[in-house]
């Protein structure tokens, strides 16, 4: 019986590894020299090389793009947290006038297709002279990250027992103090996970970045990858290396967060 279970376990792992094959194939490609690229009858390259990674690091815009993505994603997360934490607290605990409508509006704005808001935002950025800047991307990313963040954080804050806050009030703390010194530390794991998800969404964002960035000054990783230069033949090896580099932060976040994703986010959300 146990042997059968073990066979099953291995079989599932193998199937899932097969599912992930496209990714592993790209890893393989990134270490394959150009001469072997078009001859794909081997699973692993005969003479693996780091030439593509070096080319990407030294001669492409990827390093700059990685910097841009890091900055934009970090700033977006900071701004979204700064705006979202107080708002989430207010929604969870405070009597906000028109709260029901507010919640509806917040949830509804998550359904806005980016393609519909990109043209007005384009005109807005143009009018503000923010084309090709980090600010434009941070603003655009915040617009779609904020609603989800508020919703998540409100859920976490609601789980904090109200007595803890009551005790702090009795000690004479104001609302802001309670939020900052009592509530936030208690929901810190949830906040951290939500922040990482925001970072992830901003890192992966493509449509706004493609529209608002013009040069390497603000180009983020997805756009740089989409516009990867190929003169005569497409440099598959270099693109593969760039792809792997672009994927490292998201993979680290998602794989690292998986326990929370499974238990915290999904199970919690499903309880609603």
């Amino acid at each position: 019986m146990r042997a059968r279970a073990r066979v099953w376990d291995v079989a599932v792992l193998v199937l899932l590894a097969v599912w992930a094959t496209p990714f592993f194939w790209q890893v393989r490609t990134s270490f394959t020299p150009d001469s072997e690229l078009l001859a794909t009858n081997r699973a692993l390259p005969a003479s693996p090389t780091t030439i593509h990674y070096r080319a990407v690091a030294e001669r492409s815009v990827m390093p700059r793009a990685l910097g841009n993505s890091l900055a934009v994603a970090s700033l977006t997360t900071l701004v979204a947290l700064a705006l979202g934490l107080p708002a989430a607290y207010a929604i969870a605990r405070l009597p906000v006038p028109g709260k029901a409508l507010l919640l509806l509006v917040i949830v509804a704005s998550t359904a806005f297709p980016q393609i519909a808001t990109v043209s007005p935002l384009y005109l807005l950025m143009r009018a503000l002279g923010l084309r090709d800047t980090w600010t434009a991307l941070v603003m655009a990313n915040t617009s779609f990250a904020l609603p989800l963040l508020i919703w998540l954080l409100a859920g976490f804050i609601r789980e904090v027992p109200i007595e803890v806050e009551e005790a702090a009030f009795l000690d004479g703390a104001g609302r802001l103090g309670v939020l900052g010194r009592i509530v936030v530390p208690l929901v810190a794991p949830g906040v951290a996970s939500a922040a990482l998800l925001t970072f992830l969404a901003s890192w992966n964002e493509f449509l706004f970045a493609y529209t608002f960035t013009a040069t390497e000054a603000s180009r983020t990783v997805p756009v740089a990858l989409a516009l990867f230069p190929g003169v005569f033949e497409v440099p598959w090896g270099d693109i593969a290396a760039a792809s792997i580099l672009a994927s490292l932060p998201p993979i680290i976040i998602v794989v690292g967060l998986q326990r929370w994703l499974v238990h915290g986010l999904v199970a919690g959300a499903l309880k609603e």
Partner: protein, 422 residues
């Protein structure tokens, strides 16, 4: 919380303001240009010469992205914004009216007179002016031509075909006798991009019709145009052209012909220099002819193309920038294009009979004659919009997703809607 907000605000303001320091003192001009084909690049030498003649001015040259569409996108995005990150730009001729209308180019009329433009090809001059003002200096001439394997045609006693029907006959005859499975009949650019429009428009002309009538009507003779498209599709169906031409651009088709895998190629003058390279398999075996016509249509006519030099209207160094474009377009500047190994052709007609130039490029007189009879694509600020509107329709007809007739009816529908803006 307040303090944090202030810090955040400061951060945002900081990153929002890109650093734009004025360079006082010596002037640095930025010259944006496309990658130059061919083994030799005349630009660095020319720029150094200009700098020597203009002390205090340095020119930094920056390369554009690869494809014409991406270059256009780059220019649109950058010229629309306020910051002038470049002063002099190399423009595809089809963009000049659009950029002029959009107010992105410096009006060169005060500096460049009609007399100064007289030595250039009339077609090039026409493409550099819009609304009676001069917007660019002609620099590089292009015309659609037919390349053929002179050795193969000679072997079977054939002369270069004047009609597509003759071309098909010749291609099938040669392929049958040569029995080389890797030898294709005729290669052309059928990928969904600007190059496709050039090919289709040439076929329209050869069939006796055009994309726009003289009165501006869209596709005045739809039947003939559909026939032209059907003929192009027929080339693939009959096997005269390989299926991959529907993904073929200039370089893909040039390489295949240059490796000896085709009898005919419709392309641009630049390819000739690459065919004549020492290590080229087809060296000395390539001939040039006019783009064929159709038996029941008209004589063959190639489209014109090329690049002009213009000045960004928002440049901070107008005088220097104008001096640069005039230098590059001058006799001295264009002569550098005729050096051996440079695959660019000048717009000054006199250079085409210059002994030194012809010595380096024996085919120049031939290109000159072909360029004189060539026609431009529609000259209008809306050309890019027109092109991106019809490209998918042409492509749909070629890959058999729509019949040529339906594709052109759709094209007409969309163009009429697009141009109702006028």
């Amino acid at each position: 919380m307040g303090r944090a907000a202030l810090v955040l605000l400061a951060l945002l303001l900081l990153v929002g303001c890109a650093e734009r320091r004025e360079s006082g003192g010596p002037i640095t001009l930025v010259f944006k240009h496309a990658k130059i084909f061919g083994p030799a690049d005349p630009i660095p030498g020319l720029l150094r010469e200009f700098e020597a003649a203009h002390p205090g001015v340095t020119v930094r040259s920056e390369e554009l992205t690869w494809t014409s569409d991406e270059q256009h996108q780059f220019y649109v995005i950058n010229l629309e914004g306020a910051t002038p990150t470049f002063d002099v730009l190399m423009l595809d001729v089809i963009w000049v009216p659009e950029f002029a209308q959009a107010g992105w180019l410096l009006d060169l009329s005060p500096w460049v007179t009609r007399q100064e433009l007289a030595p250039h090809f009339p077609a090039a001059v026409a493409a550099a002016t819009w609304g009676d003002r001069v917007w660019g200096v002609p620099w590089n001439m292009n015309v659609g031509v037919l390349y053929y394997r002179a050795d193969l045609l000679a072997k079977y006693g054939l002369t270069p075909p004047r009609t597509w029907e003759a071309l098909v006959e010749q291609a099938e005859l040669i392929r049958a006798r040569e029995r080389d499975p890797k030898l294709d009949g005729v290669l052309w650019q059928g990928k969904q991009y600007e190059g496709l429009v050039c090919n289709v428009v040439e076929q329209f002309w050869a069939s006796g019709t055009a994309l726009f009538g003289d009165d501006g009507r869209v596709l005045p003779d739809l039947e003939r145009a559909a026939g032209a498209l059907a003929f192009m599709r027929g080339l693939i169906d009959r096997g005269v052209s390989p299926g991959w031409v529907t993904a073929g651009d200039e370089e893909l088709t040039r390489r295949a012909f240059g490796d000896g895998h085709a009898i005919f190629l419709r392309s641009w003058p630049y390819a000739m220099d690459l065919f004549e390279q020492p290590d080229s398999p087809v060296r000395g075996r390539v001939g040039i002819a006019a783009v064929p016509g159709h038996v029941a249509g008209a004589a063959g006519v190639g489209t014109t193309g090329g690049f002009h030099l213009a000045v960004n209207r928002r440049t901070r160094h107008a005088e220097a920038a104008v001096a640069l474009v005039r230098f590059l377009g001058s006799e001295r500047g264009q002569r550098a294009l005729t050096a051996a190994g440079v695959a660019l052709y000048p717009t000054r007609t006199a250079l085409y009979s210059d002994p030194v130039a012809v010595g380096a490029h024996p085919n120049m007189p031939r290109f000159h004659d072909l360029a004189l009879t060539a026609r431009p694509r529609p000259v209008t600020p809306y050309y890019l919009m027109i092109s991106t509107t019809v490209q998918p329709e042409f492509s749909a007809a070629l890959v058999r997703v729509k019949t040529p007739r339906v594709a052109l009816e759709h094209a007409r529908l969309r163009l009429e809607h697009l141009l109702a803006v006028r």
